[in-house]
């Protein structure tokens, strides 16, 4: 009996401890009391506390607003089903809300329609006046703007793939007199950035790579479906403006690339490349990190990626050269598609309806759009050494030298990102782009110089009605899955896909494809109308 009582007592005490711990842990978090505003941001532990960042101190000094920054890590944040319901916060920075979420929260009055406060936001309203496309991009189905945007226009994101070739391996082939007949005229002096190869020549080189290297070396690699370094440009080389969504605009018409016969030809050819072991199945299963880890010691014969600097270790950089897009053997042209990754992003910040002084907080955030603040938010504070010392009135130049720390690491820790407005005008007058971005732009100039597609556009942020949003949700999810699985299955199967395979695949998904096209076309037409009429 005594033992039982002790047992029960222990259990009771244990429960009490657990419960009181959870109560304390959930209740007494943060010291947001006594501040004028509290803003929740989403950041990783490694990023410095926003409250200590000089840029926010400068903002507080200039605006006279007392903003306290609290944070969630991205994991915590994504586990929270209702971040807007959190008590004690006035706004969410890096909210990352989708179109549907913004509209649902906005139409329920739980987040603020920012367009109603434009008179307190001189910078933002000027941007909206000058840029109808931004207004159009931010608008919800009910015509309101529910979030502040992030605008970073460098012209980089629409082309997330560059093709690199292992020069050292090709040199070895030349040295050993082992060059395939298709490229027999190639000499070592030809192996420089901007080399142009036909697809058949490239394939022949890959085949030699495969034949002369061990299993652990990979002739061609990429990360299928990833926003950067995917197979889209390889498929596009067949003359179809491919991107990871298989959806683009040609002559102001929304099209699906999968409907093009060139797309089918590309899949058929990739199947052949796969069966010849020029592409491995890992290209379709690996994550970015796995891809990057494998590339460090120069195991790739060639690869598609944003840049070579992150893929290959620093001592092997010279082993790789950038190729121009592969030349289509049939037409003799180079084709590169456009990704739908946008440079105008919604959801960078939302204001909660519970905020007691919306005008005040929005006038604070309005400052973020000023070039000098945008630059600091994007690269790190001036006072923390993010920029080189410059004289009054000179452009800000991002500082590349942070001692033992790499420029990337420094930026990750010191820059809050989020709401910024960096456009060509800003690059011309206030801030230099960072060296990496400039290098990539130079490379893109070479990469895109012969692009035969001059009638394609990326799909902008379109403005759908509620019904259209529902339709898209209904069809897009399953269509995306069907295309991905068909494509990967056909590329990685031992037999070549037949025309009838492809046609029956199109037939099965015909309804989805035409519904999505219809909705997008309607929205795009009214987008065109809105942006043209206000110009």
């Amino acid at each position: 009996m005594k033992k039982a009582i002790i047992g029960i007592a222990v259990a009771v005490i244990w429960f009490a401890v657990v419960i009181s711990y959870t109560v304390i842990a959930t209740a007494g978090k943060g010291d947001e009391d006594g501040h004028e505003f509290t803003v929740l941001t989403v950041k990783e532990e490694t990023v410095k506390d926003y409250n200590t960042m000089p840029v926010f101190k400068a903002l507080a000094k200039e605006t006279g607003k007392d903003v306290y920054w609290t944070y969630n890590t991205s994991t915590q944040y994504s586990n929270n089903t209702d971040p807007v319901g959190l008590s004690g916060i006035d706004a969410i920075y890096h909210s990352n809300f989708s179109n549907l979420q913004l509209y649902n929260y906005g139409s329920r009055g739980r987040i603020v329609a920012i367009d109603q406060y434009l008179k307190y936001m001189p910078n933002f309203s000027k941007i909206l006046d000058e840029r109808p496309d931004i207004w159009e991009a931010l608008k919800s189905p009910d015509g309101h703007i529910y979030s502040l945007p992030r605008v970073e226009e460098m012209g980089l994101k629409t082309h997330p793939n560059l093709l690199f070739l292992n020069k050292a391996w090709v040199e070895k082939l030349i040295d050993s007199n082992n060059m395939p007949s298709e490229v027999s005229s190639l000499t070592k002096s030809d192996l420089v950035d901007g080399l142009t190869l036909k697809r058949s020549q490239f394939k022949a080189i890959l085949q030699k790579f495969k034949d002369t290297h061990s299993e652990s070396d990979i002739p061609l690699s990429f990360v299928s479906g990833c926003w950067q370094g995917n197979e889209s440009d390889l498929i596009a080389s067949f003359g179809v403006p491919e991107n990871t969504q298989h959806k683009t605009i040609v002559d102001d018409k929304i099209i699906f690339t999968v409907e093009s016969e060139n797309w089918y030809n590309a899949i058929k050819e990739l199947n052949d490349w796969y069966n010849k072991k020029l592409i491995r199945s890992t290209a379709f299963t690996q994550t970015q990190d796995e891809f990057l880890a494998k590339g460090q010691d120069g195991r790739y014969g060639s690869f598609y990626w944003w840049e070579k600097e992150t893929v290959v270790s620093s001592d092997l950089q010279d082993d790789y050269i950038m190729l121009q897009p592969l030349v289509d053997d049939a037409t003799g042209k180079q084709y590169v598609g456009l990704s739908n990754e946008l440079e105008i992003e919604k959801g960078a910040c939302v204001i909660l309806s519970a905020c007691h002084d919306k005008e005040g907080l929005l006038s604070y955030f309005d400052k973020f759009f000023e070039p000098l603040y945008s630059a600091q938010l994007n690269y790190g504070s001036i006072d923390s050494g993010a920029f080189e010392k410059q004289k009054e009135g000179e452009k800000l130049v991002p500082n590349d030298d942070h001692g033992a720390q790499s420029a990337d690491d420094f930026r990750m820790k010191n820059a809050p990102y989020g709401v910024v407005y960096l456009t060509q005008e800003v690059w011309d007058n206030y801030v230099e782009m960072e060296p990496r971005a400039k290098l990539r732009l130079e490379r893109l100039d070479v990469y895109l110089q012969n692009n035969a597609f001059d009638n394609i556009k990326a799909i902008p942020n379109l403005n759908y009605t509620k019904d259209e949003l529902d339709t898209l949700h209904r069809y897009e999810n399953s269509l995306g899955k069907n295309i991905t699985s068909w494509m990967i299955n056909k590329i990685t199967s031992s037999g070549s896909p037949s025309v009838s395979d492809w046609q029956s695949f199109l037939k099965t998904n015909g309804t989805s494809i035409s519904k999505i096209k219809e909705v997008n076309q309607r929205a795009y037409d009214s987008y065109l109308e809105a942006t043209n009429s206000s110009n």
Binding site: L100, E215, T282, N477, T484, T492, S494
Partner: protein, 350 residues
């Protein structure tokens, strides 16, 4: 009540009936000495009265089921009002019943059923679960029967531990192991290339047709030993005298399994079968999600992963609707299974 699994209840009731009869007999004797049976015939108290009397005397015993009842109501029935979300355009933070609730009737169901892939998802779920059931249900029974006829105790114990040890591997680790063995550049592919197979290996994780076998066999490998425990427990209750008698009659070992052991655990088998048919359409989404690749989506996208996808993209109403649909099918299956078993085997849950 012929149900064995509720044998205790039956015994309890018989006992109380006897008690009652004896009491009545004493009363009757006190009244005039007639025989108890006669009294019963002349003055039989109605069922209700018997129950009432019984309740007065031993009702407090019912208190023992109170904690379980409270638990079930708080955690199982309490949250059920949430299924109303299936009929709403719901956002977290909305009141489930309130002035601002946006009712949309069967809108979510319409969206769900008109999804072009609905048929595929449904079929995938059904096939994955029914195949899993067909393989996974008999396996532990066979294993238990075989284990039970292993004589040396040490070997029996050893085998049993060996069989149920995989149960304690976490899902993530299990799928990690699967990928190391069957995935791209995995053990199997390396071996098949070494021995002159297809140059690209088998790539089982990219093949839609390999998903179900991989899922089902890995699941059963993990759980057959664990599921066998309940049958082993039932088998331990078999009277050794029956075995002795069968031996004397010259029954072989195999014959004894069929004629002594199997009938003994039949009620357990039927009960577990009804229960697992009730869960037929719900084979957890976690493992499916972990095993999903772009290549095997064709067979690996099932209703529960669809629900998960909906939740992730903030479509709470749609997810609830498809979850509700799944549950309704499960309940229907349960009722059918119970009814069939009642008719055919005279075994049922209610």
């Amino acid at each position: 009540m012929k149900n064995n699994s509720v044998a205790e209840m039956t015994a309890e009731q018989t006992l109380s009936e006897n008690d009652l009869l004896i009491e009545q007999a004493y009363e009757a004797m006190a009244n005039g000495g007639e025989s108890p049976t006669e009294i019963k015939n002349t003055k039989s108290p109605s069922k209700w009265e018997k129950w009432k009397q019984n309740f007065k005397r031993r009702g407090w015993i019912l208190l023992f089921i109170l904690p379980a009842l409270i638990y079930v109501f708080i955690f199982c029935y309490g949250p059920m009002y949430g299924i109303l979300v299936a009929f709403q355009d719901y956002m977290p933070g909305d009141k489930i019943i309130g002035s601002g609730t946006q009712w949309i009737g069967f809108g979510n169901f319409k969206t769900f059923f008109s999804d072009p892939n609905f048929g595929t998802y449904f079929l995938n779920t059904f096939l994955l679960c029914i195949l899993g059931f067909l393989v996974g249900f008999p396996l532990p029974i066979i294993v238990a029967l075989l284990l039970n006829s292993v004589r040396p105790k040490k070997i029996k114990k050893g085998l049993q531990i060996l069989y149920y040890a995989p149960h304690f591997i976490s899902l993530v680790v299990l799928v990690g192991m699967l990928k190391l063995i069957f995935g791209s550049d995995g053990l199997l592919d390396q071996l098949s290339i070494k021995f002159g197979g297809d140059a690209n290996g088998l790539q089982l994780f990219l093949k839609p047709e390999a998903f179900r076998p991989l899922f089902i066999f890995s699941g059963n490998w993990q759980d057959f030993g664990w599921s066998a425990i309940i049958y082993l427990a039932a088998l331990s209750g078999v009277d050794p005298a029956l075995h002795e008698a069968a031996k004397v009659d010259g029954a072989s070992r195999f014959r004894r399994i069929f004629s002594v052991d199997l009938p003994a655990i039949l009620p357990t088998i039927v009960m577990l079968m009804i229960l697992s048919i009730g869960n037929l359409m719900s084979c957890g989404y976690e493992k499916v999600l972990l095993m999903q690749t772009g290549g095997n989506l064709e067979t690996s996208e099932i209703l529960s992963t669809y629900v998960y996808g909906g939740l992730m993209s903030g479509q709470y109403g749609l997810s609830t609707a498809s979850g509700l649909f799944n549950s309704v099918i499960n309940v229907a299956l349960l009722v059918i299974a119970n009814f069939t078993s009642k008719k055919l085997a005279n075994q049922s849950m209610w």
